[in-house]
Symmetry: C2
Subunit: 414 residues, 2 copies
């Protein structure tokens, strides 16, 4: 089920690139190592045309392929030195998941750092973006990204989340802060926003510029035990103590759901119980939060956006700010009581990558759940403080979501 | 240089296993997935004899090898299903780094989480230990592991460390805490102690049992720009915002050094400057520390132990507790002024894995820098509060260092 969801989400964007690709055209020879390479590793590289040059030494291999997650596959060519090499077509700006396929084995590229996406820890590379300054590492005051373990009564397990605390959190010990609950997508986990999502650096830079109010961000894993859309187990991460918990089975009848791509219905009730009954009370008890509805937001990308939509609509007494990134939208007809909604909800923010919204490379994702721009404008016309944002020249990928967080954060708790 | 160090450190222990290995003996069929596997991944597995069964699907491969870092290499055998499989000899209890070699390409096993060791992000597996309860995840109050970015004047770069804060740190906002600076080994980085080292869980459990005083642990990367034993760049990690910094060249003449295996001399002066001049002041300014010598400890494993020895001996006004895990020892002749040393140093703790100390599987590592047990006893006879600990049936590996931290932590700041 989970694999199918990830596949559904990913195939639409790159449908036109799915076929095996090869290029036979001149390339600009200004390749530099990706910023996400391991120390000392020269490959993969990216040039000013946004082409990727990958290389792996595999002298006895019969075939090696560069395989972008949900995207194009590029057969690599063996040189006299036993190294396999390929140069790709130009890629979108930002972060891309990929793997190598060596004689049929799908494995991470030994040159890169690893990231959780597509239900696996795999390679990632970074194509420099024109606007990369907003998530650049600078010598400004930095917040902390805190690995935090909490006991969930609903899961009967110790689970892990990450909490971003802003730079001044440990300086002014009487200050209390609003909280954003920020969710990953299908096949991802609680590490995504702090790593490839650059959430901490985005916030540090916004706060240093005075463009966002300091707030906490809580990043939890929605694949809680009991999720009907999850594996049997709970994902954990590589470079921290893991907090694995055994599965407690799957839910039978969805009590609450969301309609996803292809009309598929997802049941987010197990995660909702953990979030509402266990995680929020834990955070309010263990961090200096402003623990009320006006100071609590929820947002997420893709499946996390679907979860945000479902959970906030069912819990308007808990959340006042709603962010849905590449995960549907809210139409006036989705709101049972518009007067109550307008009174309680301060911001509705809906975003997509431009390539998701149709056109020659789009897959029509924007249409899922109704046209998101039309829905958001109708919500605004009904008197809700609504925003629709489009990330230029990106698809269903992290650059769209980094930009979405950057835009959304500036609207929060004002 | 760095690669040579890592190799030197690792080869000695497993020298007798270095040859290509194959087993043709009956095995107990009670294999279970390693606790460090990715969610849903069934391989590698470990049985009650501590044998490892690895498996990877690579239908077109000509040869696949299971390659323990610095240890045995096991050729795998292809089955009719296109999967390559091997069962190993019994391994030591605890954590082991490894990779797969597929037709000449050294790559991570797609089944596991990834860990930084041997100058690479690679696979790890866990052999259950008889004493694993001391680092088990339990429903006790948990501390946090905080990714913290700090500006280093000496490196002219924003660097990363992890800070463990004990469970009550955010509860009692007037309390101040002692600090342990805890270093990784050669070819590793600042993620090691919090991940494969289980430092947070070890401390959470000790504190819950009342066996250790709560203190902060700061885990920094000693491969700072300018290190003569480092790569050109600074390692960073996968699942966090990276804090890469360009190299600023190498040091010419070592001003302070340590004698390592083979009589090799290492220059830790660049790291010492960052630690003493930049990191300690940052920590004392940004965390609620007891910022004086009696409340500051340093410890490390392997190369980190050598650094601890060099840096504490040169800075007795800064550190009162010294821990050297598999990284040499301190003889009375190393101490220029024994009266001053006795007055300032509260604890000297030296440890090794039993297999490092000679015998049929040992490589004589214990002898490097003089016999560590004899040195520690001589220091004790001279009036220093000294401890020598041996981890049973382990070598130069993380299970020795988990146990060393567990023992050392109970002696700190008493």
């Amino acid at each position: 089920m989970k694999t199918k969801l990830a596949t559904l989400i990913l195939v639409s964007v790159f449908a036109t690139q799915f076929a095996t690709s090869q290029i036979n055209e001149p390339v600009v020879e200004d390749f530099k190592p990706s910023s996400l390479n391991q120390p000392g590793k020269q490959y993969p590289q990216v040039n000013s045309e946004r082409r990727v040059r990958a290389r792996v030494v595999a002298p006895q291999a019969q075939s090696v392929t560069l395989d972008f997650l949900g995207g194009a596959k590029y057969p690599m060519t063996k040189g006299d030195d036993g190294a396999w090499v390929v140069v790709t077509r130009p890629q979108d700006e930002g972060f891309h998941y990929y793997q190598l396929v060596i004689d049929g084995a799908g494995v991470p590229d030994p040159g890169t750092f690893y990231f959780y996406g597509g239900n696996r820890w795999g390679s990632g590379l970074e194509v420099p973006a024109k606007d990369q300054d907003f998530y650049a590492l600078k010598n400004v005051p930095h917040g902390q990204l805190r690995q935090t373990l909490y006991y969930s009564k609903n899961a009967d397990a110790v689970l892990r989340c990450f909490v971003y605390t802003p730079p001044d959190y440990d300086k002014n010990l009487t200050m209390r802060y609003p909280v954003l609950y920020l969710q990953h997508g299908g096949g991802e986990d609680e590490t995504g926003w702090g790593s490839q999502g650059k959430a901490g650096l985005i916030m540090d830079n916004l706060i240093a510029q005075g463009k966002a109010r300091p707030f906490l961000i809580v990043m939890a894993n929605s694949y809680v035990p009991g999720s009907s859309y999850a594996f049997g187990g709970r994902p954990a991460s590589t470079n921290q103590p893991t907090a694995g918990a055994p599965a407690s089975g799957t839910n039978a009848a969805p009590s609450r759901g969301a309609i996803g791509p292809g009309g598929r219905r997802f049941d987010f009730s197990a995660f909702q119980r953990v979030l509402i009954d266990d995680l929020i009370p834990f955070i309010d008890a263990n961090f200096r939060t402003l623990a009320d509805q006006p100071n609590r937001a929820m947002a997420g990308l893709s499946m996390g956006g679907m979860q945000t939509r479902t959970i906030t609509l069912a819990n308007l007494d808990k959340f006042s700010h709603i962010g849905i990134f590449s995960g549907g939208s809210i139409a006036p007809s989705d709101v049972p009581d518009m007067d109550a909604f307008k009174q309680k909800v301060r911001v509705v923010f809906v975003s997509y990558g431009s390539r998701e919204l149709g056109g020659d490379r789009g897959g029509g994702r924007g249409g899922f759940g109704g046209d998101p721009k039309a829905n958001t404008e109708a919500l605004k016309a009904a008197g809700v403080n609504s925003y629709f944002y489009v990330s230029p020249e990106t698809g269903h990928e992290w650059q769209s979501w980094r930009r979405s967080l950057h835009a959304f954060a500036q609207l929060l708790f004002q």
